[in-house]
Amino acid sequence: MSAAHPVMNPAADIGIERSPGLWSLAWRRLMRDRVAVASLIVVVAFLLLAVASMFGWVAKNWNSEIAVNYAPPTLFKSLYAAATEATKGEGEKGPEVEGLAVQRQPIVNDRDPLRSILDELRAQLGQGAEGVEEIKIVDPLADVIAELKKKLGRVDGAIEDVGEDKKAPHLAFGADKWGRSVWDKVVKGTETSLLVGFAAAILATVIGTLLGAVAGYFGGKTDDFLNWFYSIFNSIPYILLVLAIAAVLQKKGVLTVVLILGLTGWTSIFRVVRAEYMKHKARDYVRAANAIGATHMRRMFTHIFPNISHVVLVQLSLYVVIFIKSEVILSYLGFGVGVDTVSWGSMLNEAQNELILGYWWQLAAATLFMAVLVTAFSLFTDALRDALDPKLK
């Protein structure tokens, strides 16, 4: 409490060292926990990646077709080749990749019927750049193709169709059906996941904390009413409520997903905060605040709230994990983010069909990223709870 009211510091006047507050004590406990530090580093790394992607520093051109369709990943192969290079003079990297290079999909890749003519002409012209330009202008399909691409939902202006010959035959993390880099997509998916996870968690926490504080603090009829409201939301299974709202909203996008998850998910924090307020409102410090004339609002949020904020923080952290998982499922089902952005859920949806064709890399990338982030966040949440409440365990 002393940390919450740093109005004056009598301890400093008489020359006694000030005792550390709840947060600095918790921070010290957290830093002593090796698992907590490791998971925190991972989470921070993911956050930095998401921020970098939000500002367009990485994965900006996730929507451009930089490689051939289903370009295979070479990350492990090149690592392997580097390791074996010393023993075997020449690595078998070349031919192996050639063998893996997937059959081109005629519909998407060889969509230009004039391709062969262009190549022929170009050879005749001795690879003159102007020759290519000329042919391109004559191509009667250019407009149609551009329109079709727009219809396919890959608008954004970000599409930059790299010339066929410039397309990479393989990428470190591979490419998807359209030749988009899986690495860029999975990074963009990180941004979506963390954005949705945090925004929805904050929304749910604000709603749940406000309602829980009012219900627990005032009690009586207010409490009865809010409890009734809570029991309504609580009696409908979470996923059913989410799907019902998704059915009604009929609109896709990050904001919709945040609203759906936030508006349905507030119940668990409501119960916790309400119980805390019921416990705290009768305590001496609250009665003392009442005696010096603090208003209800002041007592609720200036006096009690700092004392229960650790509970709120742990709940917030739990929410992020739950909402990241829910967003993936919603996007997988097609009720989540739209086609103009990437989610691990929509990647899994594409990956499901790719797996049967033998293209496993998109599935692996989305799974790996999600598993690492969620594991780290869960471990961090556990450590945070232990650090904030040493009485547990």
């Binding site: 409201f229 009696s235 409908i236 998982k325 990956a351 599935l363 594991t375 869960s378």
Partner: protein, 312 residues
């Protein structure tokens, strides 16, 4: 006891009224005019006008609400907007299929999770305990979608041990042929959280005085753990089981969808995809009711297992 049950049933009424109101607000007020949604499916303007009349959309909200309450009470939600199948018939034909996967799953999952939790709680802090706990955390972090996609691909598609998807007519054919893989996948997903939960329940008990007494009077470890500890930990375990009961209805929606099992969960997703409001409304209302009844059942069982519990 009877008085308690009656009072609790009576308490369901206002909550149920709230659920009906919420669903009504969502679908009839926020959801807007369903005629627009139907317009895509039915081209005839006359038909739309007819349907509007049937649904009572031209009527004031209070009348629509009354209509909705009548539907809930009489179990008659009319017909699905997309397939024209009666909603009651959807329930009757889909529910057994959901239960055919859900019930064996719940039984297996409880037995296996308790067994593993007993072992790790007994060897608390050991390498076994810690490695099981770490694997549980990791297992929980992988999306259920990945479990389904990978296990369906490997076990059904590649190895051919199970049918990739489908559903038959015979009970045993469904149980042993088509439900087997869905149950295995659902087990893989649900074991980790349940083991963690049951472990904490058991750990709350293993340090109690009565356990030390039981050991002091020379009982075998098996008897201490399986009879004394397990019986006391049964109270929260039963509560958890009861809370999971309503999940049997829609909880396996992803698995039902992947394996084309004609169950309630798959029906929900189909209904959301097709904006089939009557089906979603009916399923939501009745699953909410089932949830409340399951909670009541949990409290009653609580009392039956632990006579110290006072029902008030």
């Amino acid at each position: 006891m009877t008085a308690y049950i009656i009072r609790r049933l009576w308490q369901i009424v206002p909550t149920m009224a709230g659920v009906i109101l919420l669903i009504f607000l969502l679908f009839n007020v926020v959801g807007g005019d369903p005629a627009y949604l139907l317009a895509g499916k039915i081209s005839n303007a006359e038909q739309i006008a007819n349907i509007r009349k049937q649904l009572g959309i031209d009527e004031p909200y209070w009348y629509q609400l009354l209509l909705f309450v009548k539907q809930v009470v009489t179990f008659d939600f009319g017909q699905s907007w997309s397939t024209n199948e009666a909603v009651s018939s959807i329930f009757a034909t889909r529910l057994p299929n959901s239960l055919l996967i859900g019930v064996p799953l719940l039984i297996l999952e409880t037995i296996i999770a308790i067994a593993i939790a007993l072992v790790v709680a007994y060897k608390r802090g050991s390498l076994t305990d810690r490695s099981v706990m770490v694997s549980c955390t990791v297992a929980q972090s992988i999306s259920i979608l990945v479990y389904i996609i990978v296990l369906q691909y490997v076990l059904a598609y590649k190895l051919g041990w199970f049918p990739v998807q489908g559903w038959g007519n015979g009970f045993f054919e469904n149980l042993f042929k088509y439900a087997a893989l869905p149950i295995i996948i659902a087990l893989a997903v649900s074991l980790a959280p349940n083991i963690r939960l049951y472990r904490t329940f058991l750990l709350d008990e293993v340090n109690q005085d009565y356990v030390r007494t039981a050991r002091a009077k020379g009982l075998s470890e098996n008897r201490v753990m399986l009879v004394h500890v397990l019986r006391n930990a049964a109270i929260p375990i039963i509560t958890n089981l009861m809370i999971q009961l309503p999940g049997l209805l829609v909880g396996l929606f992803l698995i039902e969808r992947f394996f084309s099992v004609p169950g309630i969960g798959r029906e929900v997703i189909l209904a959301v995809e097709r904006s089939d409001f009557p089906v979603i409304k009916a399923i939501t209302v009745y699953v909410a009711l089932a949830t409340m009844l399951a909670n009541l059942l949990a409290d009653l069982l609580y009392k039956a297992v632990d006579p110290r519990v006072e029902l008030k």
